[in-house]
């Protein structure tokens, strides 16, 4: 009879696999920089601050031997994490903010659904429950507690104008529809939904019924969000592990995050 593996045994195998690059680490985060666009709300609302960096000193009279910066940004700037408290539907849930969320969920398996072809042909492409069920036929059931990451290759739009993709009707970017969100939350118990676009909801989601289904239903049920991800094309459909630990901000609703995946 073999002795069960201890946590140390598991971790030893993990670090050995990392050292030999049998396990690789994929960077899922965009660089925080001044040019990266932030979410746009109608001008009558207060806005999320973009990433800004002001030099404190640069080996000069302001500090002769050191270089450092003051940085500022909104909680929802760049590649970032959404906590349930972000949405009004999640405001009364227990442990709903960055400082109280269980840290166990910051490491979770991921399922990646490739919608890059559809998103290329239709900027307003909507992921449906039927499309998810189709995906399951090929890749198996979406495990409870895993991330559902929607690959659209939107992160390859390096021009901020194309990334935002506004016209007079507002923003056009892909996202999940109501059926997909309900399926993931109630029938598959995902830990959260991740996207390459500026929000987890589609660009036109303000006009959906109900509006912003992904924010509203995910967060209303204690689930998480990741957005502005990149390199989803380097993840397998199933079997990767996402590590996305937001900053521990008191009562924080979200935070820029250095998301990585083990593959």
């Amino acid at each position: 009879m073999s002795t069960p593996e201890t946590p140390t045994d598991v971790l030893r195998k993990l670090t050995a696999a990392l050292a030999t690059e049998r396990l690789r680490v994929v960077d899922l985060s965009q660089t925080l920089n001044n040019r990266f666009p932030q979410i746009v709300l109608p001008p009558e609302f207060d806005q999320c601050a973009p990433f800004r960096m002001e030099e404190i000193s640069h080996y000069d009279e302001r500090g002769p031997a050191w270089y450092w910066n003051n940085i500022s940004f909104g909680e929802h700037t760049g590649t970032h994490f959404d906590a349930p408290i972000h949405w009004i539907t999640g405001r009364d849930l227990p442990n709903n903010a960055l400082d109280s969320l269980p840290v166990q969920g910051f490491v979770a398996p991921a399922c990646v659904i490739d919608c890059s072809t559809e998103a290329k042909n239709d900027a307003d492409f909507l992921l449906t429950a039927d499309r998810l069920k189709e995906w399951e036929l090929e890749h198996g059931r979406i495990p409870a507690g895993s991330w559902l990451l929607m690959r659209t290759d939107w992160s390859k739009r390096t021009d901020p104008v194309a990334y935002q993709n506004f016209d007079i009707a507002g923003q056009h970017s892909p996202g999940p529809d109501l059926s997909a969100v309900e399926f993931l939350v109630f029938e598959r118990q995902v830990i959260g939904f991740g996207s390459e676009t500026i929000g987890t909801d589609a660009g036109q989601a303000a006009n959906f019924r109900p509006p912003y289904p992904c924010h509203s239903i995910m967060h209303g049920n204690g689930r998480l969000g990741l957005q502005c991800l990149c390199n989803l094309d380097r993840l397998p459909a199933t079997g990767s592990v996402v590590i996305a630990a937001p900053l521990k901000i008191i009562n924080g609703s979200g935070s820029p995050v250095r998301a990585i995946a083990l593959v």
């Binding site: 001044n34 040019r35 746009v40 030099e55 104008v161 506004f166």
Partner: protein, 414 residues
């Protein structure tokens, strides 16, 4: 008749830059008051309260009756050039590239004789002329004798070009070209003969009506510029800073809130970020570049800040906006002090409500963006420092001069 100004040649890059020099700038306290009026576009001289004698140059007591009750009043300036001379040499560095220089004595009907630069289109003395007061490169009041009626290329006179910042053949940066005022500025500047306009655009994914015009116009170059971002300002300055002759900072963030009727400071911070810190970032990155080449033939010449008449006295229902503009006014006064060593004119513009989307509920009269743009170009052509375009601004400015405290209370009701 003076030669029409020709499109200037490109600078020969192997020749050293001509260092900026200034005309002598030391003046008496009384003379500075004359400059203060000229800065606002008025030609004023002291009138003796007791005997009526007009004084020139400005002084502390009447030349005729020794009264100290001297009052500044506007004068018409029509008179006669009674004699003139051609200056061929000067030990003042500034004048060495201006000689030969026509100077003359002008007699006004009010029985005073004044020393003036003579415009190239004035016939030889004796001849009727119009005296105009201008600010010279030192920011001090000087007089220019103009021909009695306008001549076709009058503004091209080289003395006037020294005193003013006419956009003709100059390259201009407009810091927010997307706004209604920005679009109007681009058009008006080009109509006034500007060589080209750099159209600053922040957040290019937000494209308002008219954006296409900016992109397609052959003499407009759209450039990325976000005043809330030091790096963006630095990047643009490193690319075009050494070419900008006139910088017009019209970027503003404008919301309609008081102080206690909306929670939080984020909107107020956003206003300060553009209206105050934005100006400071521009000053830090573009200021040195403009100062360095203010001595060239076609030189950096002016910096315009679009403020608000509510910088003088707060409009409570736009309290945070007023505060940000008051802060910008204070900063702009410092900028003027710092730029004046290089002869760069800083023009402050104090409009009343502009007819745009952030003043929808403000009743008329409101200043049309095109009218504001015209006022700004005219201020550059006239060489003045402070303008108050539109009826509301004029009214509030007069009230502010008469009794700032009373104006403060007047604005409670608006």
């Amino acid at each position: 008749m003076i030669e029409p100004l020709k499109r200037p040649q490109k600078r020969n890059p192997i020749l050293p830059l001509r260092q900026p020099t200034l005309p002598p700038g030391t003046r008496s306290r009384a003379s500075k008051q004359m400059a203060a009026a000229v800065a606002e576009g008025r030609f004023e001289l002291q009138h003796c309260h007791d005997c009526g004698q007009i004084q020139y140059p400005p002084r502390d007591a009447c030349t005729r009756c020794l009264s100290v009750r001297l009052e500044w009043k506007e004068v018409d300036g029509r008179g006669e050039l009674i004699s003139e001379t051609l200056l061929h040499h000067s030990n003042e560095l500034y004048f060495r590239h201006l000689v030969p220089l026509r100077l003359g004595l002008v007699r006004l009907p009010q029985d005073i004789t004044l020393l003036a630069y003579i415009h190239g289109d004035c016939p030889p003395a004796p001849t009727p002329v119009r005296l105009q007061a201008h600010l010279d490169k030192s920011g001090q009041a000087v007089l220019v004798a103009l021909p009695p009626v306008d001549t076709p290329q009058m503004a091209d006179d080289r003395i006037l070009r020294e005193m003013t910042s006419d956009p003709k053949f100059r390259k201009v940066l407009v810091t927010d070209a997307k706004s209604a005022t920005g679009q109007a500025l681009c058009k008006t500047l080009l109509d006034a003969g500007a060589d080209m306009v750099w159209a600053g655009v922040a957040e290019p994914w937000k494209q308002p009506p008219g954006f296409d015009m900016l992109v397609k116009h052959p003499n407009i170059t759209v450039v990325p510029l976000d005043l809330s971002d030091a790096r963006s300002v630095q990047d643009l300055s490193s690319s075009i800073g050494a070419k900008v002759d006139i910088l017009i900072n019209n970027a503003e963030f404008h919301r309609n809130t008081g102080i206690a009727d909306r929670p939080g400071t984020e909107t107020a911070r956003a206003e300060m970020e553009i209206n105050y810190f934005g100006l400071m970032r521009l000053a830090q990155y573009f200021g040195p570049a403009l100062r360095a080449r203010s001595g060239e033939g076609i030189a950096a010449t002016a910096w315009v800040n679009v403020l608000s008449v509510y910088a003088l006295s707060s409009l409570p229902n736009q309290g945070t906006f007023s505060a940000s503009k008051a802060a910008a006014l204070s900063l702009s006064q410092t900028l003027r002090a710092e730029m004046h060593h290089a002869g760069i004119r800083v023009v402050n513009v104090f409009p009343g409500p502009i007819d745009d989307e952030w003043t929808q509920l403000v009743p008329p009269p409101k200043l049309a963006p095109a009218a504001l743009a015209k006022s700004i170009v005219k201020a550059l052509q006239d060489g003045v420092e402070d303008i108050y375009p539109g009826d509301v601004a004029q009214d509030l400015f007069q009230k502010w001069r008469l009794n700032a405290k009373a104006l403060e209370r007047d604005l409670w009701e608006q």
